[in-house]
Amino acid sequence: MNNKLGKQTVKINDVGIISSAAIVGEKEGKGPLADSFDIVLPDNEWNEKTWEKTESKMQREAVKLSLTKIGLTTENVDRIFSGDLLNQCIGAAFGLRDLDIPYYGIYGACSTMVEGISLAAQIIDGGFADVAAAVTSSHFCTAERQYRNPLEYGGQRTPSAQWTVTGAGSAILKKGEGDVKVTHITAGKIVDMGVKDANNMGGAMAPAAYSTIKAHFKERNISPSEYDLIVTGDLGKIGAEILVELLQKDGIDISSNYKDCGCMIYNIEEQDVHAGASGCGCIGSVLCGYLLPLMKKKEISSLLAVGTGALLSPTSTLQGETVPTIAHAVSLKTRE
């Protein structure tokens, strides 16, 4: 049984997403997708002493919620894949430490949600687990203090800057079940086009999304019309526009069925988020809270979800390094 379709793409035989849950912050709860999320936090803290604790709690509660929805407990989960943006991925490790589930910590920056689903689907399809979970989170306040300035600091954001989503998403995958099937996975390569501006992440990540999407279509020998919808994680206004143009130049037209989660979760002008949203929790909450339930309701029957991540650190930025980026893709189809 050879499931390898090419260097990057594999076929998944029988794995489905059986449940998902999303928790978001106050600002996201005022955006256009507000009604899709399971929990909207009342404030930045959610009864915790630090924002880091809040972020961990969001991961933990998202997992629990996605399990209770289908009557499962942590007992039933064989593996959990999780990561976040905090140093040493403490959002994941601290949030999930009491769940008693075998854990793999992963880091794909804002592509972590799709990376987690990719690994969970492969490990299940390979017969190494029956049920696996993929989780991720980001929190505006924890990300700001790690990557940028204190919240009260009086600074201005550039027009290309993106707003980190406070949000967490959890998806539960199982062999042979679920209304939404994972059909293919395309693993991303690290792409670095020499962008140094840490305030233009969408522009830095667009080439990675281009590379992965192109490989996906080529190795599966299909065209974009195969999908009802193609989404990227957090390219924002600038990155999304660039991605469409880059693919167009290669004769791949995604302009009619493409959206970016970073442009979906906020009212960009009204909520003053400059170029759009970013963060692990962006595609995490949009996919788990909005898109997967939409597929379950059969409003869309095929989706290519592409998580995009910028693999930089505050240290690398200070040292003047360019930004390596990555995009992972997972192809989802409603079960017939």
Binding site: P150, E152, Y153, G154, P159, G203, L246
Partner: protein
Amino acid sequence: MQYSKKEYLDYLNQKSPNSTIIKDIICAFLVGGIICVIGQAFYDLYNKAFGIDEETARTAVSVTMVFLGAFLTGINVYGKIAKYAGAGTLVPITGFANAIVSPAMEFKKEGLVLGLAAKMFVIAGPVLVYGITASAFVGVIYYIIGLMGGSL
């Protein structure tokens, strides 16, 4: 990829919107100006109304403005003004207060010593280092010119 790295950066640059410089400059000028007018008003109050001597009144104005900057940071107002004012709120002494107080507030959670105290100068630190160094340097030049019988 159809672009070389250099071509891509040019393309990205052209795709990315620039800051609204004229608007930013006008906002900075107005807000920065207003802050200075407030400072001058305190000076007149201390010097003329209270009869405090010139030098002490100047110091009192600095203390007052630093207090106001810190206070407005504490109640989450300074950052909101700064969003529109940019350099107008950054350059005056109130901006210095904001740069000290904002990390102090944020890093309090990591403890009073290694959090609050250590991180307090994370933004303002470079200003102090180079500001003090530069003033010492200027002082030396001033001294040498004085020795040579000149005056500034």
